[in-house]
Symmetry: C2
Amino acid sequence: MNILYDERVDGALHSVDRAEFLHTLQTRLPDLDILHAAEDLKPYECDGLSAYRTTPMLVVLPRHLEEVQSVLRLCHERKVPVVARGAGTGLSGGALPLEKGVLLVMARFNKILEVDPAGRFARVQPGVRNLAISQAAAPYGLYYAPDPSSQIACSIGGNVAENAGGVHCLKYGLTVHNVLKVEMLSVEGERMTLGSDALDAPGFDLLALFTGSEGMLGIITEVTVKLLPKPQVAKVLLAAFDTVEKAGRAVGDIIAAGIIPGGLEMMDNLAIRAAEDFIHAGYPVEAQAILLCELDGVEADVHDDCERVRVLLEQASATEVRLARDEAERVRFWAGRKNAFPAVGRLSPDYYCMDGTIPRRELPHVLGAIAALSAEYNLRVANVFHAGDGNMHPLILFDANTPGELERAEAFGGRILELCVKVGGSITGEHGVGREKINQMCAQFSNDELTLFHAVKAAFDPLGLLNPGKNIPTLHRCAEFGAMHVHHGQLPFPDLERF
Amino acid sequence: MNILYDERVDGALHSVDRAEFLHTLQTRLPDLDILHAAEDLKPYECDGLSAYRTTPMLVVLPRHLEEVQSVLRLCHERKVPVVARGAGTGLSGGALPLEKGVLLVMARFNKILEVDPAGRFARVQPGVRNLAISQAAAPYGLYYAPDPSSQIACSIGGNVAENAGGVHCLKYGLTVHNVLKVEMLSVEGERMTLGSDALDAPGFDLLALFTGSEGMLGIITEVTVKLLPKPQVAKVLLAAFDTVEKAGRAVGDIIAAGIIPGGLEMMDNLAIRAAEDFIHAGYPVEAQAILLCELDGVEADVHDDCERVRVLLEQASATEVRLARDEAERVRFWAGRKNAFPAVGRLSPDYYCMDGTIPRRELPHVLGAIAALSAEYNLRVANVFHAGDGNMHPLILFDANTPGELERAEAFGGRILELCVKVGGSITGEHGVGREKINQMCAQFSNDELTLFHAVKAAFDPLGLLNPGKNIPTLHRCAEFGAMHVHHGQLPFPDLERF
């Protein structure tokens, strides 16, 4: 599988002598943990997108800033590409290694350096787990808001690299809205600070540019995040509908009424049944769609909003509206949602998880279109997603061992992404582009825009050594695989033999 | 006054024949409004920072996208620099023209193209005034949150270019947090879209990079902003203190208690007296400092928060805490604050408005230090500022006609900025760098960081034609004027003869 950025990197790679490089690294950094034996490299072959696997040339696990600097300097000197990895939970192959590159594992940078309740921030190393920040802030009644489903395991460095979202980002924003400052190392190992402890920072907003840049612009060595006060109360309403379109319209009605739920999630019948079988959340299995609407804040406010949302849901023809009676039921309602992906995974040998976003007003239309496509391609699809954000996760069910199903799933997925772009949305909401969606970027952006991305990349990393082959496709690649394929309704995955 | 970006632009400028260039422009674009007579250019000599004035070579006032494209293409062809201008209300000279450059006035792009209450966004041309967006959204119970003091006059294009803030950005964020999408033209006149109508966008976050880039990366032709539901209720508490340090500490206490006020503003005694004389807001003129704390949201929530804030203020030794009895008093309390700058202007022939930010926890310390510096330099200083954000606006009062006062004001200002940077803050919160603070950028950033800024600039504008001489200093400039001066406690303003 050719996952190289461009010919220039490819050329550079061929000249590296692995044994000599390893020896130099061992000599210069005798205390650095380096993995090089085949069995040690195996666990690092992939991230959360396990369909893509590559054995890295070497894995390094530094403990100190100076070690990271030295690794970067040596790699720069020898023109060896570097892929940074946090906890490896990413879903788009952003941390997929390179056969002739170094995998830089930042997991050992796992210290919480400071929690400042008055300043409402936490300063942490990049390997600290997302949930650990909230745990450290809990004694002060504070927490870190972005909550990807993987928050028990994923690291804040990876969250910044992917601009992670979560169930609550409708109200509390993505990672980029919750990060104050990043300490990073350039490709040459120079220390830089992006953002500041204070409001805003002068000059270009490189912190926002860096957030979500998928390891292509620098290596994160420290992150300062905002902490928020924990809401006093959180309540969840569950509403059932007899069509997905009605549920989609209700989402728009709630937002248009000026209510900002903590979370507003949707599941369709297939997802409801799968989750109910798996978790016994108490979902109405006859419903064609349910909405879970969480309202959080102070008691009186939440109470008022619950009543307003209930009225709106009833006006939108909900067949049933239920308020979780107690905390146990609220947790159960969410457990069904949070385990919906593995639950759907029990229905079918394979599924393909999409991550398109659309403007909210397009929800009923796009959901209807996906149902029609499901019939056309004769493949089941389960919809489980962040409805309030317009961030869809259609799960296309297929069996890779049934001839033709993989190809139909690919074509179906391509049509969905095409539709997302067409209605003004995008090919990824929160999972990133990584390796997985690099070709679809050709459908999302014009050549002028891609050229600008490359110019920005070159401003940070002129030789293209940081995470090459991810995120931003070359124009050559687009000409070859890209827009044309999507516009014919197919996902351009020339290497899906390995899927 | 040398305001040129670097020698390369300077060299290019000298080769332009103004008459020939004007003739070409008139020939190619017969319908374009072009100002070229001295008396017509006069009003465009400066923006809101009137201490800096330059007569532009030409002013163009296009009405159509195609005209802007043609102007940009011709300027690119002839290597003529272009300075974009919105309403000209900026306070840091970001729209200061160039003697040999074109001033591109976008004021006629003043149409509101779409208000979508369900999608909660408005799509507008860049010349639309900030307040006009909220007025257009009002029938739907929505508004555009960022509210710079100049919101009656300033344009959304200028707001995006400067990443404008305002009284309410503590709760609702800066411009960058409230913009979804920008349509822009590159320096070569190519159309590009940054951001999207949907949540997030793949690739690098060029929208955030572009926001606050002060006209250096492209020309804004359309802006899509988020709209928020208008809060049901807003109440204001006024608290008086017998020292500024106590008021500063109270700010930290409120934020640390988990309350997020809509606005949290502070004024010291000099500002209180000036505002009271001017506006008769009903302020306690004996107080050494007052805080104005606005709480907004739903009725019950606001009521609870008011009580909590009152308790905190009393615990922080406020000598008086007053809740505005009615809407008229609330408006009067704010009128005093919003007119504090002109009010202070009545006290002294000249004042110099600083715009530093600091971490909130440093407020008591920095306010105390400013008072000590005021005595040391024998110059009065009035403090009026966004305390909740740590965004300070010390106004240094001086008389430029009294020998030595200007120099003392400069030195005093330099010490304040030095202090802001030292405690982890920045040299500008919401007014931008523009022309005014370009040298202080040398104190804020390392050479590596400035080099990165230049590389990013070059990715968008390799010839440096867009707003040269603003925002990002050359390393040469820094070596000559910059960090050294600030570190000796002086503002590096070699051309302040014109102040």
